[in-house]
Amino acid sequence: MNSTALAGLRICDLSGQLAGAGATRTLAAFGAEVIRIEDPVRKGKWDLLRGVPPFREGQRGIDAGGAFNNHNVGKQGITLNTRTERGRSLLAELVSISDVVTENFSAEVMESWGFGYERLCELRPGVIYVSNCGFGHTGPYRQFRTWGPIVQAVCGLTWSVGQADEPSAGFGFSYMDHHGANLMVFAILAALHHRRRTGEGQWIDMSTVESGAAMLGPMVLDFTVNGRPARRPGMPASNRGHHPLMAPHGIHPALGDDEWVAVVCRTDAEWATLASILGVDEPAWATVDARLAAHDALDARVSAWTRRHDKFEVQTRLLAAGIPAAAVQSPQERTDRDSSTARWGLFPEVTHSLMGAVRVDGIPLHLSATDWSMSTGAPLLGQHNHQVLAGLLGLDDDEIARLEADGVI
């Protein structure tokens, strides 16, 4: 059954990639009507993920991209050539019947089409307009271009992943595309709450660099209050336990090739338990300060034990002893062999018109009354042109055929 949580909410969705599409997929999963608009001239390829791997075996082409499917589950897809006057007038009609307009273009694009915030307000009084780009729509870098890894580099997050004596490891994926998208959902819902109270819409000028910078707060306060920069010798040492101080706190080798397990002692008592399991008799390490001072030696002792055991055995044994531990899980282990993700229904199967049945990321929330659902995959390019243009905008078949012939859709 489809969720009714957001029933009746219509999104005119010009966004894409993950930072935008990831937001509207969540709204769709909770019952919003998301109409995603793509460019027929470039075959939707403004979205870098349209038509790029991962592909199903034997499949290729603009409709076959696995990540695009994942990020666009449950949406309707139409094409509109906004270079044409008719394309722009159809966009205006869609805006006029939508609650929310979303986009994550570079800062100047919407204005250049004649769809800046003021125009959107004229078309749909009380509209909620979310622009989501790396540096936002104001400030000296407003015209700069970004994608996830650039956002992460500039906002401090890339620096925050790595060993002390190595270059930045950074995130091996676009972490801030996820959170840019998630915060965009938060933004839309918060603005809807405000509009319900006051009747006022608004423009939300999201900058994912700011969103990312807001995720490193205590370290920033350490600098602004104490003058201690995060970039200093011995940092970032990001596998260690900084706030609060914990030791041991790290990712250790386990039995097998490139297998790893995280082990954490939050308290001196947990360390005492771990020490007895490890067979370590070091009275000098009774306090966290002493263990931090001897962290390398401590890590060596933990690793010497973990590397003799399977990562899941370490996890089971330490958890039973009251010590936080977790195997570093591979994608296959998370999706196919993890009883918790299975129990949650975290990777549901949807039906995509070309790819067939395919599993996608679900939602890490369950709502007791109006839970999410996912059943249809991403739209093929222009898949819902007829449905939207006829059903919502009242165009007849001849007009739609003419739009196709004229390259408007």
Binding site: T4, L6, P54, G66, N69, F135, G136, G139, R145, W147, P149, I150, V154, C155, G156, T158, S160, V161, E166, A169, G170, Y175, D177, H178, F186, L189, A190, H193, R196, Q202, I204, A213, A214, L216, P218, D222, F223, V225, N226, A230, R231, P236, S238, G241, H249, I251, V264, L319, P324, A326, V328, Q329, R334, S340, R343, V358, P364, L365, L367, T370
Partner: protein, 403 residues
Amino acid sequence: MSSEASTHTGPLTGLRVIELASEHAAFAGKLLADYGAEVLLVEPIGGHHTRTFGPFAESLPEAHPDRSLWFWHYNTSKQGVQIDLDTPEGADQFRNLVGFADIVLEGETPGRLAAFGLDHGQIDSPTTVWVSVTSFGRSDPRSLDPFSDLTAIAGGGLAWSCGYDDHSLPPMAPLGNQGYQTASIWAAVGALIAIEARARTGEGQLVDVSMHAAVNVTTEQATQWWLVAEKTVQRQTGRHALHLPTESIVAIAADGREVHTGFPPRTLDELIKLVRWIDDEGLRDELPLTTLLDLAIEQGGMDLAKLYEDEFTQECFRTCRDAIVLLAEHHTADNFFLLGQRRGFAVGMILSPEETMADPHIVARGFPTPVHQPQLGHDIVHTGLPIRFTGTPGRISAAPALS
């Protein structure tokens, strides 16, 4: 009441939230509070243990019980009350508060509140949205196990994709409790979805948030590479994990700092701009393979869909990257970033958190936010709001003091 002032405080003005203090859901409460919800933080008598988390305001004496910068950050804009839930008076007080709340936010281990008769469903408050943040979800027995941010990052798949080309080094977790924050962002989203549903039905409901699930759906492409193509991505230094090794993407600028060389050109226009930049700087002699790019331009560009199978495309892609690295080596990090961006390339510089706070663009947008800190008697600068609402900006005020 003062509608003018309250309207402009934040979009969530009018929402009342009762938050039970926790380590892993604190960020959710902060998001709601900074954007105008009235968030009452319930701590045990004497204060929640997160008040003992560093870093600390070092100008205050070590014995000062209210100097945790961790607490000051994660609890901005909230009000505070101390209640012992395991006393009858405390339980009554909590029940009363819930009766007036639009949202309850808690991160308790399943069963703890139920033992006090204070769990969702045990308090008569049908319009309240109850948000529960646990490690594996309320009905999963694994939520009773001990956990930390690091175990969520390891088990949830984030660590799998982060680290170095040298796999004798461990997978890396990020600083800053990103597992907790990931769950918290979803908790805040879930709370507002349920508030939106309530506007339609008049009913509250339970929002069950799993941190393990939240981290699991925050891996971008790792999961899809497995589910769609049965390929397993592998961690690589400073760039996307992938099932195939890719070229390095971080370069060292002339001043020794790290820069991000960006995604190499993919359109004809970008190829032309890159060759022009190389020529403008007189670097063609240092990169003889620029001729390959000339050829690609003559052919109308590269087809990235063929990147994993066509050698010429791969060679062009690599040469583009070499060109960008060469340009980076000829400039300071700041200059490379500015010059590259002004020429239309999505390149970056790798900043530490305090460097980001000092960046001219971030400063010009007013992101660093002074907040009066009563314990110190003066303003301190916090990270600003992650979302810019132009109509209802929101406001950051100090965390509740330990009274």
